[in-house]
């Protein structure tokens, strides 16, 4: 894929959450983006790094992850096509979490000095980037609530709803009956649940006709009921045109 279409991925993401003019789009198209391919489970940016670039996810699935002192991993959020997971690195110099691929992914790196000078000259783009990090924070808040307070059944349904909704919004899933590209272990780390309990919960969701499972893949079977089961309300995703993604 050429860097032109990488720019379009970035533009579509920013347009989903903010209002940009044609002149802004031209500026965004001019950003030099260095693309790289990664296998699943590779670290893109490490906690403690002082990156000189931020990356836009062109294709694939990325997780922000933190490790406890004794080495347990918590995935604190997912990122899909168009997202700019470490955009906060533009202002916070030391990374406070690690970003890793959860599936094979293509990533586009953008220089911080370029992004800074664009923000100084184009306030609407600066506002759009700001909104992007605010929406990321809203998702983190939802995840704290999900992992901290929802029981396993609702928690699991919620995270599946979010993933499906977001993948659909970026055109990576055609309908609600789609494979969710995530491993058992990653799902457990995102839910803060043991693998045994994740399996138990997935099978419970399946027996209620909400999902289908085969190997490590999960498919949504009954979207309205899965939404209800997952206590899922899309407000926190702050899409400007939420109906378009349903």
């Amino acid at each position: 894929m050429s860097s032109t279409s990488t720019s379009e991925v970035l533009i579509r993401k920013l347009q989903r959450i903010s209002s940009l003019r044609e002149s802004d789009l031209a500026v965004l198209r001019g950003i030099s983006i260095h693309e790289k391919e990664f296998q699943a489970n590779q670290d893109l940016v490490l906690e403690g790094d002082r990156p000189s670039h931020s990356f836009v996810l062109v294709d694939g699935l990325v997780g922000s992850t933190k490790y406890t002192g004794d080495g347990k991993r918590q995935i604190t959020s997912f990122f899909v096509t168009g997202d700019i997971p470490d955009l906060h690195g533009l202002h916070l110099s030391a990374m406070d979490c690690t970003f890793s691929t959860l599936t094979p992914s293509r990533v586009g790196f953008m220089r911080h000095d370029t992004l800074r000078s664009i923000c100084e000259q184009h306030p609407r783009i600066a506002a759009a980037f700001w909104r992007s990090t605010l929406v990321d924070a809203a998702i983190y808040r939802e995840w704290v609530t999900n992992v901290g307070r929802r029981e396993a059944f609702t928690r699991t349904a919620h995270i599946l709803c979010e993933l499906i909704y977001r993948l659909r919004a970026v055109g990576r899933i055609d309908d609600h009956i789609a494979d969710i590209p995530i491993t058992q272990a990653a799902l457990g780390d995102a839910l803060g649940l043991s693998t045994v309990h994740v399996n138990r919960t997935l099978q419970e969701l399946r027996r209620k006709g909400l999902i289908a499972t085969s190997g490590g893949q999960v498919q949504a079977k009954n979207w309205p009921n899965l939404v209800r089961a997952g206590d899922f309300d899309t407000t926190y995703l702050h899409h400007r045109n939420p109906e378009a993604a349903l």
Partner: protein, 85 residues
């Protein structure tokens, strides 16, 4: 690595694991089973005296290898309360 299955539940209802987990050996399966029992307890332990919960580990041939279980015991420390329980 081998695939282990973790059936779980209480004496009235057994939930059969159809997915399973790859573990390096019985020791790892035992740790996975214990973590599963902790989560099961958090989700399903109700306030009733004598409730039992368990996780049973079996291998791909269906041989039962381990059973991890616990039961709730509620005891009032005052005799008058005990009559009401």
């Amino acid at each position: 690595m081998a695939r282990y299955f973790f059936d779980s539940g209480d004496p009235n209802h057994v939930f059969e694991d159809e997915i399973g987990i790859e573990c390096a050996g019985l020791e790892e399966a035992r740790r996975a089973g214990l973590d599963g029992l902790k989560d099961l307890t958090k989700d399903t332990l109700k306030d009733f005296d004598g409730q039992q919960l368990f996780v049973e580990v079996r291998n791909e041939n269906g041989d039962k290898l381990l059973r991890l279980s616990l039961s709730l015991k509620v005891t009032a420390m005052d005799d008058r309360l005990n009559e009401r329980l």
